[in-house]
């Protein structure tokens, strides 16, 4: 930048900027150091996590949590195996389930030692991942367009909103008719559920972006395409990831339903067949496994979101919400 032309009134001080530079250059830790400008070493990710974990351990929370889990198990155990309450007569008790689950040669053929257990898990997981990936690949752009382009929204959204209220399982017969084989309908149903959730949340993300950010970008000379790339897409990302977390939950929901109705292998199918073949402990095993896998996938989505949106993490922690 060119220097100020020397005139009769040269700006007396070196200016605010120079003062700030002077403050910043003072040695950290010295008596002049105001503290705020000293460079501190950022704690590593791991040490931070350990610190929070340690703090949590020392609070009453873990004890109460264990109390809660213990109560659940106790209730289950007592009602089925000890007191043998009437309604619980045919239910499998926790000892039966755990014994079956850990046994190297289980009565009903499914335990952590049998490969078929992992086959079921893997197949369900595979199905969810494929459908979820496809739903994300199609749903995010659709949602972005629905939020960004009024033209697109005017034409596409009515059809979208007319198809959305139809429950996913209501599509089962149609899916079986339309798609060949037994695998494709299952994938289609899971995809559909995920797609709606993702697209809708993405759309919400776009419309929730602060309009002044768009105006600012326009001021700075951005073309509509550049606004889309630099403002809309990053701005919608937090909502997109909330939508993805919902979407993966919905995917599991639909997958289980679809597997129970028409499908071979998979955890939903396992639950169904265990019931029809009166292998009750396996039902519980499958249910719990389902819950665990569903939970892990949801957490994975959330963690990927946090990693991609580092800026948001820093902002939230400064707001004291982390």
């Amino acid at each position: 930048m060119p220097d100020a032309s020397p005139g009769p009134n040269k700006f007396p001080r070196d200016g605010v900027a120079a003062e700030i530079r002077a403050i910043q250059s003072r040695a950290p830790g010295s008596s002049e150091d105001c503290g705020g400008t000293a460079a501190r070493k950022k704690p590593s990710f791991l040490s931070l996590r350990l610190y929070y974990f340690g703090r949590w351990l020392r609070s009453p929370k873990p004890h109460l949590m264990l109390l809660g889990y213990a109560s659940l198990l106790a209730f289950w155990y007592l009602s089925v195996e000890v007191l043998r309450l009437p309604r619980f007569a045919e239910m499998p008790g926790p000892t039966a389930v755990i014994h079956e689950w850990l046994s190297p040669s289980p009565t009903f053929g499914v335990s952590i030692h049998t490969p078929v257990y992992y086959q079921h898990i893997l197949i369900s997981l595979q199905r969810v991942l494929i459908s979820f990936a496809l739903a994300t690949a199609l749903g995010v752009p659709t949602g972005l367009l629905l939020g960004w382009s009024k033209t697109f929204k005017d034409y596409a959204f009515p059809i979208f909103e007319m198809l959305r209220p139809i429950p996913i399982l209501a599509w089962v017969p149609l899916a079986i008719i339309m798609l060949p084989g037994s695998e494709l309908p299952v994938l289609f149903l899971t995809f559909l559920a995920s797609f709606f959730a993702t697209a809708l949340n993405t759309k919400l993300g776009v419309t929730s972006i602060d309009p002044t950010l768009v105006l600012a970008a326009k001021c700075l000379g951005a073309s509509p395409l550049q606004v889309f790339r630099h403002v809309i897409v990053p701005g919608a990302l937090p909502y997109v990831f909330t939508g993805l977390q919902i979407s993966i939950g919905v995917a599991w929901f639909s997958l289980v339903a679809a597997e129970m109705v028409s499908g071979q292998f998979g955890l939903g199918y396992l639950i169904n067949t265990s019931y029809t073949m009166v292998q009750y402990p396996t039902i519980i095993i499958a249910m719990v496994t389902l819950g665990a896998v569903g939970f892990v996938s949801s957490v994975a989505v959330r963690l990927i979101g946090n990693w991609l949106m580092d800026w948001r993490g820093r902002q939230l922690s400064l707001d004291n919400r982390r």
């Binding site: 109460l64 109560s71 017969p173 339309m178 105006l215 129970m260």
Partner: protein
């Protein structure tokens, strides 16, 4: 509501960013476009489903779908069939009861979780442990436990809505501005007054959102449960129908246009119940701006 920041008319954005188009013209255009889109979709459907006739070969996906006119004919036929309306009744009753049960149980439970930290630390982990298990996975366990088929379905339906409502209640209670509570305390309000006049209304919007989501989930579970217990696994024809069962039955019986009729019926029912819930929520929370 901040609509998409792209303005297509000369109206552009107002000083605070709200899309300002001359009223009257904008809405007509949106409606016209919607009509065009629906018309095109119908034409596409018709051409696709009858592709065997005019194209020679049946197009991959759309070719096997029943044609629109067959669906309309089937529907007109069904309108005079009492079984069809009974299915409507059964599904609606199940949804209503399940939803009511979920809300009745969910609200106090959620409020208790939000109010008492001890209770929350004990119970919430168990809640979160059970939540990832999809409601439908409970169907066999539920059938084993409950004496009648209807009760077992009702339990599963209840579960679906329950999780959502509880989460929304807890979230809503936490979001109440503590300063409002402090202001009330400084004016001498008792705990009960604070609860009745501050917390309950404050949680209502979140419950409203939870209810809107829950009713959708409830429909999903109802249809799924009807198909699974009536069709997929048990095959008991006496399971009291419902639209889900109707669809499955139509498939099994080869009446394909009826399937579409059933699908559209459920879609309409779901939409109507969502709209009614939204209306009820708006009535309960008049201070909230509607988008």
């Amino acid at each position: 509501m901040t609509n998409a920041p792209v303005a297509e008319t000369s109206g552009g954005l107002t000083s605070n960013g709200r899309a300002g188009w001359p009223s009257g013209l904008g809405f007509d255009r949106s409606a016209r476009r919607a009509a065009v889109a629906i018309l095109m979709a119908l034409i596409f459907w018709h051409l696709g489903s009858t592709s065997r006739q005019w194209l020679g070969t049946s197009l991959p996906l759309i070719g096997s779908v029943p044609a629109p006119d067959a669906v309309v004919r089937a529907w007109i036929h069904l309108l005079s069939d009492p079984g069809y309306w009974q299915s409507w009744l059964w599904s609606t009753v199940r949804v209503a009861l399940g939803f009511a049960a979920a809300t009745t149980a969910g609200m106090p439970f959620g409020l208790a979780l939000a109010a008492n930290a001890r209770f929350r630390s004990t119970v919430f982990p168990v809640f979160e442990l059970l939540r990832p298990i999809p409601p439908l996975a409970w169907v066999p366990a539920s059938i084993i436990f409950w004496p009648t088929q209807e009760l077992s379905i009702a339990f599963v339906i209840f579960l679906g809505g329950f999780y959502t409502i509880v989460l929304n209640v807890v979230g809503g209670a936490e979001a109440i501005d503590t300063r409002l509570i402090q202001a009330a305390r400084s004016m001498g309000a008792s705990h009960w007054i604070i609860f009745r006049r501050l917390i309950l209304p404050g949680v209502l919007p979140s419950i409203g959102v939870g209810m809107e989501v829950a009713i959708g989930i409830t429909w999903e579970v109802v249809v799924a449960a009807e198909m699974i217990s009536g069709g997929g696994s048990g095959g008991e024809a006496s399971s009291g129908g419902g639209l889900g069962f109707f669809i499955w039955n139509s498939y099994v019986g080869g009446a394909y246009p009826d399937i579409i009729v059933g699908m559209i019926s459920i879609g309409i029912a779901g939409y109507l119940s969502s709209a009614m819930t939204r209306r009820a929520v708006a009535y309960l929370t008049p201070w909230k701006k509607r988008v």
